[in-house]
């Protein structure tokens, strides 16, 4: 069963004081996330990630479209008992202690009183927040608040967890712990949907990712499947210190280290590069295909959308003339 089915959700805000004009925050979005997946929702700041999450949580109303969570309408309040949500840069009632806050959230989520105390201790220990009894949240650091945020999201043992920028504000150790926690959630059979603009996190964790930019979905799929669509590169290593002109003509990026030269060039130039080296009687040491990173795919998608926007603007300008 699909854990999340987004069926054409879109959002247009009216901006301006006197003359209201529409501003499209999210183009109609269609997306399905299967149960048990770790799904990364990637995009630069202002891409529409948080708007999508807020709509799924019922905090913002869509202009059009619908969604289903765990097989039920996303507006059904009862489905929320099975959902955990960590907002971006969370802020909590700072007059409460972490225990009081989690107890309150546990009550609202319908966790029975006998289980609540045990669950609170359990989740605080999972996010590395022990020995904080009696400390009000106003005295917590940003990283500690982020941990409390994660704790409240998983407190009621939800089947589906939404995390908006979960690594934000965490130090490298904290980020590592959150990564481990997300992996543990997957092992427990939970579905995790998280938004991020830190691609290495997505690459390390996600089964599938979706890339969104300027409110439009640019790509969705498994990371390997997505990156394979990007033009591959190879690294060619030969002995010597000279770089033949024919290699430079192939667009290779060359680096001389000691008595070896390393050149990185497009995979379809590989045969031409070997021929060039053979012609110069240079001894070839190795040819290694380079794995395309998610970052390369991401940058390509963003550049593609900017080029398309530029072309459209150019055409529009041209037609005005």
């Amino acid at each position: 069963m699909a854990a999340i089915e987004i069926l054409g959700l879109e959002k247009t805000y009216m901006v301006g004081f006197w003359r209201k004009r529409p501003k499209r925050a999210l183009e109609p979005l269609h997306l399905t996330v299967e149960e048990g997946e770790i799904f990364g929702f990637l995009g630069p700041n202002g891409a529409g990630k948080t708007t999508t999450l807020k709509m799924l949580m019922g905090l913002v109303f869509p202009t059009a479209g619908t969604a289903r969570l765990l097989g039920r309408a996303w507006t059904d309040p009862e489905v929320k008992a099975q959902i955990g949500f960590l907002p971006e840069q969370p802020y909590f009632y700072d007059y409460l202690t972490a225990h009081e806050l989690l107890d309150y959230y546990g009550q609202l989520s319908g966790v029975p009183a006998p289980d609540r105390k045990r669950r609170i201790e359990e989740v605080l220990s999972r996010v590395g927040l022990t020995d904080i009894k009696g400390l009000q949240l106003r005295k917590f650091s940003k990283g500690m608040l982020q941990r409390v945020g994660i704790a409240q999201a998983i407190l009621h043992n939800p089947r589906l967890v939404f995390l908006d920028e979960p690594m934000s504000g965490l130090d490298p150790l904290g980020r590592r712990e959150v990564r481990d926690l997300i992996e543990q959630l997957k092992q427990e059979g939970k579905t995790v949907f998280f938004s991020t603009h830190i691609l290495s996190d997505a690459e390390a964790l996600c089964d599938r990712v979706a890339i969104i930019h300027k409110g439009q979905l640019r790509g969705v799929g498994e990371i390997e499947q997505l990156t394979s669509s990007v033009q591959g590169k190879v690294e060619v290593v030969w002995q010597g210190t000279q770089v033949p002109a024919s290699m430079k003509a192939l667009g290779a990026e060359c680096h001389v280290t000691g008595d070896t030269v390393r050149a990185v060039l497009a995979a379809n130039q590989q045969d031409a590069a070997i021929d060039a080296l053979r012609r110069e009687h240079i001894r070839l040491i190795a040819i290694t295909p380079l794995r395309t990173s998610l970052e390369a795919y991401f940058v390509e998608k963003l550049q593609h959308s900017q080029t398309a926007a530029g072309t459209t603007a150019g055409t529009a300008a041209g037609s005005n003339v």
Partner: protein
């Protein structure tokens, strides 16, 4: 459903109790009740009248200030600080949130009134040395003051559901002042003609009638109160509060939380 409202109300009460500014206001109100003793002592023969008048006025005014002060931030502060996100992403309906907030603030005010009333009765005992039968009417005046607070709470919540805390405070306080002269407004409406009469009458009945809830002067002068007035004021406050809360819920149900 009821349990969630109770949890939200309890948390709202806890927030108010932990707010230091609240204690300053209560201390100030008790100080004013204490001052009533002093004024009462220099007012020969009318000590009781002065103590009851000043004491109950202090309870009413400071309660109104607390109701507006806390009420205006109940929703808008939660939106601004984004504390609402982690509440509404749980199985909590928006109307449950509003009703829970209302009961939390109302509970806070009832408890405050209780403590301030102890101050008033203490001051009265100090100047009169004993309680008399007409002093029981003070309890009726206090009950009406609480009804007044319920209306103010619901209005503060209504304004808080769509405007900033500052504007909400201006709206709520303006309505309190206008509502305190509601009887005069109705009298004025009767003196006008044509469209002005329609407009003035409509406005006079739309604003909350706080003047009918103010029996402090009658109680201070030990004048009897009609039993019917208690029922009438209770129903009026209940109706007005329900209307204002319904408005708050209707607005909040449609609001995008940016």
């Amino acid at each position: 459903m009821t349990a969630r409202i109770v949890h939200i109300a309890r948390n709202t009460f806890r927030e108010a109790v932990r707010d230091r500014a609240l204690y300053n206001l209560i201390a100030f109100a008790l100080l004013l009740s204490g001052a009533a003793i002093f004024v009462g002592q220099i007012s020969i023969e009318i000590e009781r009248l002065v103590v009851v008048n000043l004491g109950l006025t202090a309870v009413s005014l400071f309660g109104v200030v607390i109701a507006i002060f806390i009420g205006i931030g109940l929703v808008s502060k939660e939106i601004d600080k984004r504390t609402l996100y982690t509440v509404l992403s749980r199985p909590v309906r928006r109307w449950e949130f509003i009703i829970g907030k209302f009961f939390g603030l109302a509970g806070t005010l009832v408890v405050n009134t209780f403590f301030m009333a102890i101050g008033v009765f203490g001051a009265l005992l100090y100047v009169a040395h004993k309680f008399s039968k007409p002093d029981a009417l003070i309890l009726v005046a206090l009950y009406f003051i609480i009804l007044e607070f319920l209306i103010i709470c619901s209005l503060a919540l209504l304004f808080s559901s769509f405007s900033s805390p500052l504007l909400s405070a201006v709206f709520a306080f303006s309505l309190f002042v206008i509502g305190s002269f509601a009887d005069d407004l109705r009298g004025f409406a009767r003196l006008t003609h044509g469209f002005t009469r329609w407009f003035a009458t409509g406005a006079a009945y739309l604003v909350p009638n706080f003047s009918t809830l103010n029996v402090i002067s009658q109680v201070a002068h030990q004048q009897p109160l009609r039993a019917q007035l208690i029922l009438q004021n209770s129903l009026y406050a209940l109706f007005y509060t329900a209307m204002a809360l319904s408005g708050a819920v209707l607005i909040f149900e449609r609001r995008n939380l940016k």
